[in-house]
Symmetry: C2
């Protein structure tokens, strides 16, 4: 197994582009504050000093909500130091320290609410999940400030967990019911060089789903507390060991966090068997179980996966966190395989499935991301059907999504580049500047582009001294025609493209220019013939951006719209719309309503007389930007006629 | 208000046709026995002598399951006397008599399981519902055998209810939580001439949804038992008085039984206000909330109605009992209005939504009748998604549907004719013979036809002596062209057709012939443009019969089938298929699979390259007959291209 590439850390890459920069600024200026506000108002920040009888009893997953906000603050501090934010974090860290048990144990719920009940139900009660998020926050804060206190606290907790769980006699052979700790421990290992943390992560990944002495740990712990295991083990991907798994199943976020953590373990332990299992699961996901938005996990039943080619639209769950988890996993597999097969999906999920999860204003969030939205029924009250329109919420009782959005947005530039032995890989296109350690020196690379709205990306490469290395540029899978010039001279992309990356290998001098043009016609996307819900329909895409129709730009009754096979759709830059977007515009058809008008005595619900169609102008906007104006219908998959 | 027509009772009409007769025979020979067998094996028949500690504790609705089977037996005895069946019923009647309380009260659950708890929750606990079904059975048995015992038992119970409920001081101002007793009381009134029963039915209908002294009865009774009312009152159409209601809401079967009972009350009390409310609700139902099968109530959430134009396919609930209830209501409004607007729906629900509820073999049943069926997910077990195909069941824990099917099938010929002052109305076409009381004499009318498979219906009218009266023939709304001859002479239908009935008024002599030809081309049906799920699709119909495609005749992946707008579909009589049906045959298109084939390393779940279509032969079978062969996909709404 070749050593994986190393991502260029977000601290070395500054985005200054038309697309992400405003969102990142809003994330820092609004979403971070909103997270603080809601964590505070719901009692999550005061939970560490909670006493019996107080309001806001600490919930089993509250530690993670606070931790994810802390992690996001830490990322923000790295790029935008701010003493007042640092103070807020230090106060929480003091609380955590005060609460931490002598043996290092640190979980608010099980210290304050149910003392003595720790580890009784690691399948269901999120202890190890919370530990993981606290560790991620501590590592981020350490990198941001150099202060060790939080990191030390979490090392003590990790040591406590390490003593408790493992294969040795007297240890519990358990593993997180909600995966997350695995990837956090690898981060902690990187931050501390303490190999026990990597070993523990490796144990968790490998032990998962085993049946030592014929007994599954989750059954063992259920029996010990006198209960039955509450869900099938596949819900948290613990039905068989990971390397025997062939289908992505169960809770989607749990799955993504496991796969990301397992990829980290595989990278550190050079475990080709584990990587092979991840590749197999990846293929199952992206070939059979991913949605057109990059969203995954279509049903609310298990917040997760159903079966191959199941693509509901109005009821699709597609949790924001699951899209974020997919980005984590895709990013890791990209490092292994140097293949756009993975980074294409990372881009898809970032621009669409993930980004829809937060409003343009940064203060409203989607938990579920359906691909269509019509009136929904709440129930019947007072004899009238009660409807509602699905919209973003200010916060959630289960607040995993807003706290996840805020941390990925604060570290987004970390997904743009990777460094290989003697190459720099560019996965994402966005204007900005990076400092990359390649060919034994710091090389500055700038991108100048209006991507994803415009097709041209201009690179300037500035090594400190002339040096030979490769600049590998992702030629996205969606791009039918790409052209490239180096210092004005055309490069034959076909000859130098491997696994979707164009490898421009040369001796680079300061100020060398690369111009990449990625054609972005409006594309109609079909889903696989086995996908029953979008059959006969197309989705509209331009570049990496998926489009949708909203009622506010069109009309009520979007379901009846039919896009003629030959209808031309033209892209138009609209600077004043939705923060500046390219819209798609054209003509479609819908049925004439007047033929169906009812008289007082005769109605028409079904007709054997065929309707006439009328032409209607249509405008599509990016899917990620839906539900930022008037509430109304939304549809991505459109009938084609 | 004109006096409603009088239906010709099923005892005076014998069906001997190609369509219904085999089903009616199967109903008597198989379904009746199956009902007995399951009522027995589940403890329902032994419940009347149940003691604490015995198995099979009598459930609150078990009386109704037994009652409906008894009612069906009674209908069967009328046409096919059978001492052994009579004996079985008499045994139950003896049990009922033995159990009946001194004051007449008669409910197994509340006598044996929860004595002293009667009437505590008439909203939720089905006491009055069970009473209604027992009364219907008793009336039917009395008509069938002339034996009064069961009728007397039920009169004593009705008297008990009549004493308990009413507007007088000391009486409860309640009404059935599951409607049914209303229409049963009108039947009991007809059988006994005891006007108190009609008055009680009238009270129930009128009291429903009122708030005397500002208090709703269901809240009053909930408070009295120390609980809260468990569902919104609209669930059982008690949110406001019926005459103020404008939308069909809540539980669909409850709604239909209420409307049928209210129609009976309106007819007996000459209540035009009530009829007006029913007409308004009818229009809401058939113009906005009925499915193409005549099924109603699309969601399992409330086993009932959602909102206008909501027409899910795979998940559509459309309970068999609700279609039967719609037949009851449509039949009653037909008597009032002499308008095919109602009898068309009756025919639709009978041939499709109701009839799908029982297998051709008569021993398997649908509770839900979706309009499409694909793989369903049961959950995830052992890490693999578990699928199932929806199919009929041998029985249900809640057995309302099989016990409803068996009683309507046993009395089906009662829906064919009505008598007006000097006219005979024919609502349904099916070969057979009727004896009709019109023009002061018994007139024999025979139909000779292969309807619904063939277009021609030949009538022979045989008065005992020449007499002038009208034969009114329904010209179905689905029929674009009808022609009619009387004794070989063409009649101009346009001139004599009122509200969809052709009124042939003449002096009839013995042996007069009428030939009616109803054109039955294959029709493509569209749903209203506001119905989002079937947009872009058509359903296939021929005459009153709705069609569907089944996997077994076609291919897996029916969702991808597109019916070209110009594709010809031809009707073919297939005597050996599904008991003899007309199938629809033609060519459609579907996507070529090979373009989507995946290689080992590259998958294709979405494609911006457009698929090619290939031509495939298709065969459609009647919807009512689906799921009688190999389990597989089914689809009624088909994409049109």
């Amino acid at each position: 197994m070749a050593k994986p590439m190393t991502p260029v850390p977000f601290t070395d890459v500054t985005l200054d582009d038309v697309f992400w920069r405003p969102r990142i600024d809003t994330n820092r200026n609004v979403t971070l504050e909103i997270n603080y506000k809601h964590n505070k108002s719901t009692g999550r920040l005061a939970q560490f000093t909670w006493k019996k009888g107080d309001h806001h009893e600490p919930h089993i997953f509250w530690d993670s909500d606070v931790a994810k906000w802390m992690e996001a603050v830490a990322y923000s501090l790295t790029t935008h130091p701010d003493k007042s934010w640092e103070k807020r974090l230090d106060a929480v860290i003091d609380d955590l320290e005060a609460m931490q048990q002598k043996d290092g144990y640190l979980n608010t719920h099980f210290i304050l609410v149910e003392p003595g009940e720790r580890w009784r139900n690691i399948k269901g009660e999120h202890e190890l999940y919370c530990a993981g998020h606290l560790i991620e926050a501590a590592v981020a804060y350490f990198y941001a400030t150099g202060k060790r206190k939080f990191l030390d606290i979490m090392c003590r907790y990790a040591d406590c967990i390490d003593k408790t769980f493992g294969p040795k006699k007297g240890q519990k052979r358990g593993y997180p019911g909600h995966q997350e700790l695995e990837l956090a421990l690898v981060k902690l290992y990187h931050a501390t060089d303490e190999k026990r943390y990597l070993d523990l992560a490796t144990f968790f990944v490998n032990e998962r789903g085993k049946r030592p002495n014929g007994k599954h740990y989750y059954d063992v712990e259920a029996k010990a507390r006198g209960g039955a295991c509450d869900r099938d083990h596949a819900y948290c991907q613990a039905h068989v060991p990971l390397r025997e798994q062939t289908e992505v199943v169960g809770h989607a976020v749990r799955a993504m966090y496991l796969y990301a953590g397992a990829a980290d373990v595989a990278a550190e332990t050079n475990d080709t068997g584990l990587l092979k299992a991840l590749d197999r699961l990846w293929d199952n996901l992206v070939n059979k179980r991913m949605h057109v938005t990059g969203g995954i996990g279509p049903t609310s039943q298990n917040e997760g996966f159903t079966f191959d080619y199941d693509m509901p639209d109005e009821t699709a769950y597609l949790e924001t966190c699951a899209a974020i988890g997919l980005v984590f996993w895709a990013h890791r597999l990209t490092q292994f395989h140097r293949d756009r097969k993975y980074s294409d999906v990372m881009e898809l999920a970032l621009y669409n499935g993930m980004l829809a999860g937060v409003s343009l204003s940064g203060d409203r969030f989607f938990y579920e991301n359906p691909t269509a939205s019509f009136l929904r029924m709440r129930g019947i009250q007072h004899g009238e059907s009660e409807f509602y329109r699905y919209e973003r919420s200010a916060w959630f009782g289960c607040a995993c999504c807003p706290t996840n959005v805020v941390r990925i947005m604060a570290s987004l530039s970390g997904y743009q580049y990777s460094v290989d032995r003697n190459a720099v890989y560019t996965h994402l296109y966005a204007a900005g500047k990076a400092t990359v350690n390649v060919a034994g020196q710091q090389v500055a690379i700038t991108q100048s582009t209006k991507y994803p709205w415009k097709e041209t990306i201009n690179f300037t490469v500035r090594p400190q001294r002339d040096a030979e290395f490769t600049l590998a540029l992702r030629i996205p899978g969606w791009c039918r025609k790409a052209t490239c010039e180096v210092n004005g001279k055309r490069v034959k992309l076909d000859a130098i493209t491997k696994k979707g990356y164009a490898h421009i290998k040369r001796t680079w001098s300061k100020g060398d220019k690369v111009k990449l043009v990625l054609d972005m016609p409006v594309e109609r996307i079909e889903a696989h013939p086995s996908a029953r819900q979008p059959a006969g329909m197309v989705a509209l895409k331009r570049g990496p951006v998926l489009y949708c129709l909203e009622q506010t730009d069109n009309f009520e009754g979007l379901h009846d719209l039919r896009l003629p096979a030959d209808a031309k759709l033209s892209a138009k830059w609209e600077p004043d719309l939705l923060g500046g977007v390219v819209t798609l515009n054209g003509k479609a058809k819908k049925r004439k309503g007047d033929q169906w008008k009812r008289t007082k005595t005769d109605g028409k619900l079904f007709s054997q007389d065929r309707s006439k169609l009328e032409s209607v102008p249509i405008k599509a906007v990016p899917y990620y930007a839906w539900c930022n104006r008037d509430l109304g219908e939304m549809r991505t998959w459109l009938l084609e006629s």
